[in-house]
């Protein structure tokens, strides 16, 4: 990041470790996937804040045993929703800064370093052959358009059904869009403190979007949405266009009649998983629910929703470095979903889709993206 301001320094005298971050306020169900699993005080937000402060003040020396408490966190931000102290909105920022300092001082985790190297070499964290611009030809898209669909690496190289459904919906709705030669938005690097390659990639994306003559960007990935909207401005990278998440666009398209969901006799029961990047990080809770309300399905909410929603376990570099715990976290969410009686689990983030599926049993309800669901009914 370019900012020299230290959020740890700003909140150097905050947090009495009251434990409010550990549980959903007045609900008393667990809020922190990391603390709930690992148990030591260091794996809750309050412990990490004390670590960050201690390292900043020089009360604690850097050493490799610090890496797990620092990195075994999905940065889901549920702690921020529960914390009642003045620093509550800055906890994830503190953890991300702590991670960046860890990378500088003692290096990151091997699995994180791997996807950093992949981003540098292949422009995506998976090490897949970079082919984004080929989509223009594959889907017969224009070279320039008012809207750029920022596909995101996970949709483009892993959860391709989300990319395909998004393109299908945009075409059916008659949206004038294209894709650009996008590089990884760098969310995985920012979340894991590996900031060196970020500015260059972000600037490349800004240039590509500008070259496409776009007036707005659509993302189907909640992580990309958060990064382009919130992190790029902090980096000093101005995209100069509006960034919209697909759930917001779907609502807009339905509201103005550009897409009209067909009604069916059999209405499936579905449940909605709020992605952390979309919900807690960006405050978007209603748009997906508004879209679902227009579809021939019945939404049954899980016991933790919106700002209190239990994380899928896939974010913050957790899946790459701590897969077992990450999948266990997803399993907890799946159990919540099963208690609703849902036949489908719907979300709007390829990370969530992937990890929730990993946490599901074979005979459990399928996990799909909201774009896939909408595409079925238009």
């Amino acid at each position: 990041m370019t900012s020299d301001e230290s959020v740890i320094e700003q909140w150097l005298h905050s947090c009495v470790r009251c434990s409010n971050c550990k549980y959903v306020f007045r609900e008393y169900s667990p809020s922190c996937p990391s603390g709930e699993h690992f148990g030591f005080e260091t794996y809750y937000a309050s412990g990490r804040i004390w670590l960050a402060q201690a390292l900043y003040k020089g009360e604690l020396e850097w050493e490799v045993s610090l890496l797990d408490p620092i990195f075994a966190c999905t940065t889901c931000g549920n702690c921020e929703s529960q914390c009642l102290a003045p620093h509550s909105e800055h906890i994830v920022d503190m953890i991300e800064e702590l991670r960046a300092r860890a990378v500088q001082e003692i290096g990151g985790l091997p699995s994180h370093i791997r996807f950093r190297e992949n981003v540098v070499q292949y422009h995506n964290p998976y090490g897949a052959e970079h082919h984004n611009r080929n989509l223009v030809e594959t889907y017969g898209l224009p070279l320039q358009a008012e809207t750029v669909y920022f596909v995101g690496c996970t949709s483009n190289y892993r959860e391709t059904q989300i990319r395909d459904a998004t393109i299908s919906v945009l075409k059916k709705a008659g949206v004038d869009f294209t894709v650009v030669d996008e590089y990884c938005c760098c969310s995985p690097l920012i979340r894991t403190g590996q900031l060196d390659p970020v500015n260059e990639a972000a600037q490349h994306n800004a240039d590509a979007i500008r070259a496409a003559g776009a007036k707005r960007i659509i993302t189907s990935c909640s992580g990309c949405y958060r990064t382009l909207s919130r992190d790029y401005p902090k980096l000093g990278v101005d995209l100069g266009v509006e960034v919209v998440h697909i759930t917001q666009l779907l609502k807009e398209l339905i509201d103005k009649g550009a897409i009209v969901p067909k009604q069916t006799e059999h209405r499936k029961i579905i449940t909605w998983h709020d992605p952390c990047h979309l919900g807690r990080a960006m405050g978007i809770y209603d748009a997906p629910r508004d879209v679902i309300s227009k579809l021939p399905v019945d939404l049954v909410e899980m016991e933790t929703t919106r700002e209190n929603a239990w994380c899928c376990g896939g974010g913050g570099g957790a899946k790459a470095a701590y897969n077992d715990w990450s999948v266990e976290t997803a399993r907890t969410r799946i159990e919540q979903a099963l208690r609703t009686g849902a036949e489908l689990i719907v979300s709007a983030c390829p990370f969530c889709t992937r990890n929730l599926r990993d946490g599901s049993s074979e005979d459990g309800p399928p996990v799909i993206d909201l774009t896939e669901l909408v595409d079925r009914f238009i």
């Binding site: 005298h13 434990s19 148990g39």
Partner: protein, 474 residues
């Protein structure tokens, strides 16, 4: 085999840490008490694992420090000797039983006020426990063992009074029960008529064993309840009026706060200064009755008492809580419904402390009057908290200080608390949740035979001195 490996064989490798992060975080708490780094942290999940930990500690002569759910105060979970092992009990978090007829629950040490509240509301809506003004996620066992106070203390006393019995692992490794459950499970109805050995564990700050289960009394929810806010002036006039109200058995709970605390609750930013002419105290009163008639009569009596007090202080004001909520916010109901909710205003900085005591009723007003002068001298916000205890048999007062933990503040806070303690001891008050420095000052003034008896009992139970050595200044 290393000591760490031996503990790992008991609780599993995932539940033992000697990492720098854990050793740092468990070396300190939110208060001004000096840190000391433990060598290991272990997290058992059963009584049997606790027993094995204690036996191993005896073999290896390793000091153990019990730790509950993480909101530690008074330095009570900070080791007083080097190379201690912290026994973090938060994995033992089951509510084992709720006996509707006997009105008690049996819980493990990791169970918090919040979890009890939720569990009872969902499964036993006619019953309630008593709740503290601490974080909602404070261990109910820890608070009972430390004889803390709660929102039924005005009627029933310190939280240790609510203990029907307990199970503990002694410092020598035996598992014992005290109370009526010595005749077996489903029989945790009380402590009498037996030698009352609950007292071997309450107030001992973890020196006599690790409590692994506790039976705690529950209470029927009263069908008719009303809350009031009473705003008063002057330390002596306030305490005199509260004494009158509580002696008349009108209030289930009477928690009085410096007006600064009230202003903080409604959102005034720190630091909060007292303004000339504003009330000195706001007291939240809870009145109840088995019929509306009983409740109405209590309300009438309360109003009459407050009106009588206006002869001396015309500005005293009693207002129904509905008006408070309308003026402040709906959130206000949370403060009386579940006092832990009001803890948030104490989370302003990274430091929080208080010098709290139980005191003879006759000395209550003087303690407040002189204590506030000390707090004002040091320039801290005036955040007194006082409660009439056990039907006015004794009283509680404390001065809370929220502060930034820099070197200068730590020194100043220590000096301020020292002066407050000297004042309290001059008035023969007993400090509770006592830090070591405070216990040592108490020893200087206490009957030496009492201190010697405590020491002898501790030595008898813990011949190898492994349980929290140095605690309570011993």
């Amino acid at each position: 085999m290393s000591l760490k490996e031996k503990f790992e064989r008991i609780v599993g490798a995932d539940h033992v840490s000697d990492g720098a992060a854990e050793r740092y975080v468990y070396s300190r708490d939110m208060t001004e008490n000096p840190p000391r780094t433990p060598q290991l942290i272990v997290m058992p999940s059963t009584t049997e694992e606790v027993q094995q930990i204690v036996r191993l500690a005896n073999e290896e002569r390793v000091p153990l420090v019990p730790f509950a759910t993480g909101q530690s105060v008074g330095g009570l979970t900070i080791p007083q000797v080097n190379d201690a092992v912290i026994v973090d009990l938060k994995r033992m978090n089951k509510i084992l039983d709720v006996d509707e007829e006997g009105m008690y629950m049996v819980v493990e040490p990791g169970v918090t006020f919040g979890h009890v509240r939720k569990y009872l509301d969902e499964n036993h809506p006619g019953l309630r426990y008593t709740y503290a003004i601490s974080s909602p996620f404070t261990s109910v066992i820890a608070n009972a063992l430390l004889q803390g106070l709660c929102d039924l203390s005005t009627r029933y006393g310190a939280m240790a009074e609510f203990i029907n019995g307990l199970e503990a692992v002694l410092p020598t490794g035996e598992i014992v029960r005290v109370g009526s459950a010595i005749l077996g499970d489903d029989n945790w109805f009380g402590r009498y008529p037996l030698p009352d050995l609950v007292g071997l564990f309450t107030g001992w700050q973890g020196m006599t064993g690790i409590v692994t289960k506790m039976a705690l009394q529950l209470w029927p929810k009263k069908p008719f309840t009303r809350h009031f806010a009473l705003f008063t002036f002057g330390d002596f006039m306030t305490t005199d009026l509260l004494k009158q109200i509580v002696r008349a058995d009108l209030a289930d709970d009477a928690g009085a706060l410096s007006f600064s605390v009230v202003k903080g609750l409604i959102g005034m930013p720190a630091p909060i200064e007292a303004i000339e002419g504003e009330p000195d105290y706001g007291t939240f009163l809870t009145l109840s009755g088995v019929t509306s008639l009983v409740l109405d009569e209590k309300v009438r009596l309360l109003e009459r008492m407050v009106n009588s007090s206006k002869v001396k202080e015309p500005k005293n004001l009693l207002i129904p809580f509905e008006a408070v909520a309308r003026l402040m916010s709906e959130e206000a109901y949370g403060w009386v419904d579940f006092p832990s909710d009001s803890f948030k205003q104490l989370t302003e900085y990274d430091g929080l402390t208080w010098m709290g005591t139980y005191i003879h009723t006759k000395n209550w007003g003087e303690a407040l009057f002189k204590g506030r002068k000390i707090v004002e001298k040091y320039g801290y916000e005036l955040m007194a908290f006082l409660k009439p205890m056990k039907g006015m048999h004794f009283c509680e007062f404390k001065f809370i200080i929220r502060f930034e933990r820099d070197d200068e503040n730590l020194k100043r806070v220590r000096q301020c608390n020292n002066e407050l303690l000297d004042l309290a001891l001059d008035l023969k008050a007993i400090p509770y949740k006592t830090p070591v420095w405070s216990a040592k000052k108490l020893h200087e003034r206490a009957d030496p035979n009492f201190i010697e008896l405590v020491r002898r009992i501790r030595d008898l139970l813990d011949p190898h001195g492994i349980m929290n050595p140095g605690r309570w200044g011993l």
